[in-house]
Symmetry: C2
DNA sequence: TGATTTTTAATGTAATTGCATATATCCGTC
DNA sequence: GACGGATATATGCAATTACATTAAAAATCA
């Protein structure tokens, strides 16, 4: 918890100081950009990022309002939509990366060897693998 | 980030399902209890938990309102106060622990060997050692 | 087919967090 | 022993997040 709070605070602080959007926007933009021209469905994003559905819904509202993504109708599912990248979104993500990267380096790279960082990534990965969204957290309990 | 979100969501979900306060209360209560009968100063808590000052201030408001800690005047510093445990606070912390422990086990213990868990703790510790509160994040930037 | 359940996404409202700033005390120094 | 700055804590207000619920389309199935 503390390591996460520190890393997050450093990154958020740096992004803000640079007049850029918060970190979570980066993650969304990265996923959406990676998804290609057809974008992806909110529920896919939800699973990739492990965000709660209602948080993601409003997060997308904000990112869309800023013009970095667009919501398109989903052809094959009337309930759904596809989130696609805009040029402005691509641009802002590229602007964010150097700041983000610098803070990753400060918070992590500079404190661990390459080998240690890899081990850390592997161990944290084990905590995530096969797990599902927070929404399920309270329900998972009863299971 | 994802590992933290998952672990936190599981723990919060379990605590809530048990009708208990959120995880961060546990951490506060633990620190305060450990500090002994004289309690500790909010700024010490802030540093121990790496919480922002204004968040901690209000967090203490809530925990105090629930009757789990008390704010006492600080003899040797007129600006300050001492946060001390109440009996109700000790009781609730003890109630929270088994739930918390079970979720730690589910989220981490069950997914890592004892050795791996130790390595993880060590590596995360390296990310925290010698670092300071989030408040400093934006300022640390310019430094 | 039509009823029932599940999935996808949004939203009203309450709680929390973040930001900026305020207030009071303390400390060093001149 | 008054002054300027630093430290400790609180708070008004805006933004975000959590909770509970809703709405609508799909999937299941009797």
């Amino acid at each position: 918890m503390r390591a996460q709070r520190l890393a997050l605070a450093s990154i958020e602080g740096a992004l803000k100081a640079a007049g850029l959007p918060p970190l979570v926007w980066y993650d969304v933009l990265l996923e959406v950009e990676r998804a290609g021209p057809d974008g992806l469905r909110p529920y896919e994003l939800e699973r990739a990022m492990l965000l709660a559905q209602y948080n993601l819904s409003r997060l997308i509202d904000r990112i869309e309002a800023a013009g970095y993504v667009e919501r398109k109708l989903c052809a094959d599912d009337g309930r759904g939509q596809r989130i696609v990248m805009t040029d402005a979104g691509k641009a802002i993500r590229r602007q964010m990366w150097p700041i983000y990267a610098r803070e990753i380096e400060r918070a992590i790279g500079g404190r661990l060897s390459a080998e240690q960082a890899e081990v850390l990534g592997d161990l944290l990965g084990r905590l995530v693998d096969g797990r599902t969204v927070p929404k399920a957290a309270s329900k998972a309990l009863s299971a």
